[in-house]
């Protein structure tokens, strides 16, 4: 019976094999074409046009949108804001998230409950998080300033002070997404080989040495994965900006995503918005390439 099967496979013509391959691959290919390639090419095309839907204008503009971008001070500020928010946010999230994961690995009594609560922010929609924090940080009746006032401390203008607003935004983003890093690192922590730690104990390694020379190096793949994933996500964050600061004061918290949305959907300058979006896609693609390269290395390591 088995041999008959094998004969059948051998007897199958290359033509049939090719047809089967095409049939099997076609749905995925069609999906990719429709939902990835087409939008990418379409937005790329639009980025070469001056398209204002409200003004009903659509004219070829060549690289004009991109050169306009290069000369646009708001774009430069948005890029700086996005970069600051991404790197500072990811740094906070990685440090705090990893610390929390290590803390919960101590398996103290009731830690499962606290862990569950800490994960809750991640389940909220970012725009809701923005609005919720906007209320908490309200200078007149927000709970944060009220508490500070009761303690006799200064009551900062968290969202109205230009030198504070971006840090506030980053802090809120970190509040929401630190649990993500914690979960990823904690999961990896559970999968680490225990014999290495037993060997280090036998060798008399201190806790600090175990942490810095064994635990963190072994956790590095998970930490880097979480960091890159979060960096890409933070780089394109829009909803929390929309809900919390609306890009202000002035342009102090305008990120590239928010600026793209504003140009596209508030001012209906689709050509310019597409050019902006394309710059973001290029930056995000570089990030993704790094991520995939890292994942490939780990697979090789595993083998």
């Amino acid at each position: 019976m088995e041999s008959a099967h094998a004969e059948g496979r051998i007897a199958r013509s290359p033509l049939h094999t090719r047809r089967d391959v095409v049939l099997l691959v076609a749905p995925a290919l069609a999906y990719l074409l429709a939902f990835s390639l087409f939008p990418l090419l379409y937005s790329l095309t639009i980025s070469f046009f001056r398209w204002d839907q409200v003004a009903s204008s659509f004219e070829f503009y060549g690289l004009g949108n991109f050169t306009d971008l290069a000369a646009d001070p708001v774009f430069r500020q948005a890029a700086v804001n996005s970069a600051l928010m991404t790197w500072l946010g990811v740094l906070i999230q990685v440090v705090v998230g990893t610390s929390l994961a290590l803390f919960f690995d101590l398996r103290l009594r009731g830690s499962w409950f606290v862990r569950g609560i800490l994960v809750l922010p991640m389940l909220l929609t970012p725009v809701v998080v923005g609005l919720m924090w906007r209320a908490l940080l309200n200078p007149d009746w927000g709970m944060i300033n009220w508490t500070l006032g009761q303690l006799g401390l200064p009551e900062p203008l968290w969202l109205g002070n230009p030198s504070l607003a971006l840090w506030t935004l980053t802090a809120v983003d970190s509040w929401q997404w630190t649990p993500f890093v914690m979960v990823v690192v904690f999961a990896r922590l559970q999968a680490l080989p225990r014999d290495v730690f037993e060997a280090s104990q036998v060798d008399g390694a201190s806790r600090l040495a175990t942490l810095t020379r064994i635990t963190l190096p072994l956790l590095a793949p998970a930490i880097v994965f979480a960091a890159i994933f979060r960096a890409i996500d933070a780089f394109r964050s829009f909803d929390v900006v929309f809900g919390l600061t609306y890009g202000g004061p002035g342009r102090f918290t305008t990120t590239m995503s928010f600026y793209t949305w504003e140009q596209g959907f508030s001012f209906t300058r689709y050509g310019y918005a597409s050019a902006l979006a394309y710059v973001m896609v290029v930056v995000a693609t570089i990030g993704l390439t790094v991520l995939f390269r890292f994942v490939r290395i780990r697979r090789e390591d595993a083998s």
Partner: protein, 502 residues
């Protein structure tokens, strides 16, 4: 019709005016005839006003459109409320401004009295504008009645995407007897009603929208008890306003407040009011010959912004992050003595549970000597997308006559305290007793000024960029002159990109 207008329209119009003034025809009949002849809303309103207040003959004062469920039409040509029984109308309305609330309540009544099912959809302002744009440009709109913001009229009506309503208003088979178009302030009709697509100008003789569901301009809200205690008179000019703000500022109460956040209302309510009542002219040139320019660097512009900056020390400490909600909250919680604001918030201030309802009064805006107190014209219109099947348009208009009727408006205002559109609602005694700010709001609605760049699609971009620069001036990171220069640079770039400035 056009031929008719070209050759004999003027004579017929004169005849219609003399007929109504002489009482030979009713005002209702005059409005119908005048609309067909293409007279502007302003002219029609003026003539009707000249005939005396009230409503057209045949309809008692303050009466409403007839929507009785079982009343058969008097003749084949009369309006039949149940004509479209069994049909459905899909309506899109802005969310967050309580505009949808009255309609939600009335859905069962509409079903009962008109036999029409209403499918209501709401979206926040930004999403609504985008949704409108998409639907109006689609092969067929998914909505039969659309809520159009005044500042987006140029981009929607101006792009010839909405159905002209002029002939329908005058058609007694389509419009109920007593539907009084002249009851809307002429300025409101010119803003969210009539539009001249050929020249891209507000007004004209073709009606595309009916003002609704709420309108409004800006007025001065002040705490009479605090002003009395401080011996301060209600300020009527900007120097007095600043002096009053300073005098009224005490430990817990700020003398004044404003929309200081990165918000278009910073520009529209606080800066623009000061600017025009200080004698400023916002634009020069014209878009037709590509010479349209803003005047942000004018002396009045810098002075207006400087006045706002001067008011900041007498405002709540967080005023530079005050948007619509924060400003209203601060006033209602008793922390503010004076505030310029959209009149539509009056409902919240005079709500039964408001702690400042009994002590708040209103006034028209302060203005420099020789200037008429006025503010920017706000408001919405309801229209019917052009890209609908004829049947849908018919049903939509049928329902629209109810949604923009005096009857519905009084319910909406009384129940949800939004700003009215109709003059008769602003002065309705029952409503005024409940909402004492209405007459002042009505006065502001009459004198309100259309933002000069509201007739170009780039309005939001210009206002938004200026608001950001002004916000930074209030925060203290740049001075008034720098902020105005930056706003000017940004707006000129926008006007050039839009093809309005060579």
């Amino acid at each position: 019709m056009d031929q008719h207008r070209a050759h004999g329209g003027q004579d017929l119009a004169k005849q219609a005016i003399s007929d109504v003034l002489a009482g030979r025809i009713s005002r209702r009949a005059f409005i119908g005839r005048a609309t067909l002849l293409g007279l502007s809303g302003g002219t029609i309103a003026a003539v009707v006003a000249a005939c005396g207040g009230g409503t057209p003959s045949g309809s008692p004062a303050g009466s409403v459109a007839s929507f009785g469920p079982t009343t058969p039409p008097a003749s084949a040509a009369a309006f039949d409320p149940m004509k479209y029984a069994g049909e459905k109308v899909r309506i899109s309305i802005v969310d967050g401004e309580r505009d949808e609330a009255g309609l939600k309540d009335k859905i069962p009544e509409i079903k009962e009295k008109m036999g029409i099912d209403v499918e209501l959809s709401t979206a926040a302002l930004g999403a609504l504008l985008e949704q409108n744009n998409q639907n109006l440009r689609a092969p067929e709109s998914a909505f039969d009645i659309m809520h159009v913001l005044g500042f987006s009229v140029a981009g929607t009506v101006g792009a010839d995407l909405l159905q002209e309503l002029t002939p329908w208003v005058a058609d007694p088979a389509r419009t109920p007897d007593g539907y009084d178009l002249a009851d809307f302030p002429a300025g409101a009709l010119d803003y969210c009603g009539y539009f001249d697509i050929a020249t891209g100008a507000f007004g004209g003789d073709k009606l595309y929208l009916i003002p609704g569901i709420h309108s409004g301009s800006c007025i001065l809200f002040y705490r009479k008890d605090l002003l009395d205690a401080a011996g301060v008179a209600v300020p009527t000019n900007w120097e007095d306003y600043l002096a009053a703000a300073e005098k009224l500022t005490s430990g817990d109460v700020a003398g004044n407040s404003m929309i200081g956040a990165n918000d278009v209302s910073l520009f529209l309510v606080d800066w623009y009011t000061r600017f025009i009542t200080m004698g400023g002219t916002f634009t020069t040139g014209s878009k037709a010959d590509k010479t349209l320019q803003t005047n942000f660097t004018s002396a009045e512009s810098v002075r207006a912004l400087q006045h706002m900056i001067d008011c900041v020390p007498f405002a709540p400490s967080a005023v530079a992050s005050y948007g619509f909600t924060e400003g209203l909250d601060a006033f209602i919680s008793g922390k503010v003595a004076m505030m310029l604001f959209w009149s539509t918030i009056g409902g919240g201030i005079y709500a039964p549970d408001s702690p400042v309802a009994a002590t708040t009064e209103t006034a028209v805006m302060p203005a420099d000597a020789g200037q008429t107190p006025r503010a920017v014209r706000g408001g919405w219109g309801l229209g019917i997308p052009k890209n609908l099947p004829d049947k849908n348009k018919d049903v939509a208009w049928h329902l629209l006559t109810y949604l923009t009727s005096a009857e519905f408006e009084k319910y909406q205002v009384a129940t949800y305290q939004t700003d009215p559109n109709r003059s008769s609602t602003f002065t309705d005694p029952d409503l005024v007793e409940k909402l004492p700010y209405l007459p002042i709001a009505g006065e502001a609605a009459e004198s309100a000024q259309i933002l000069e760049v509201a007739n170009i699609p780039e309005t939001f971009a210009i206002v938004g960029e200026a608001a950001r620069e002004f916000n930074l001036a209030l925060v203290g990171t740049q001075d008034a002159a720098t902020a105005c220069q930056k706003a000017q640079d940004a707006s000129l770039a926008i006007l050039r990109t839009g093809g309005h400035l060579a």
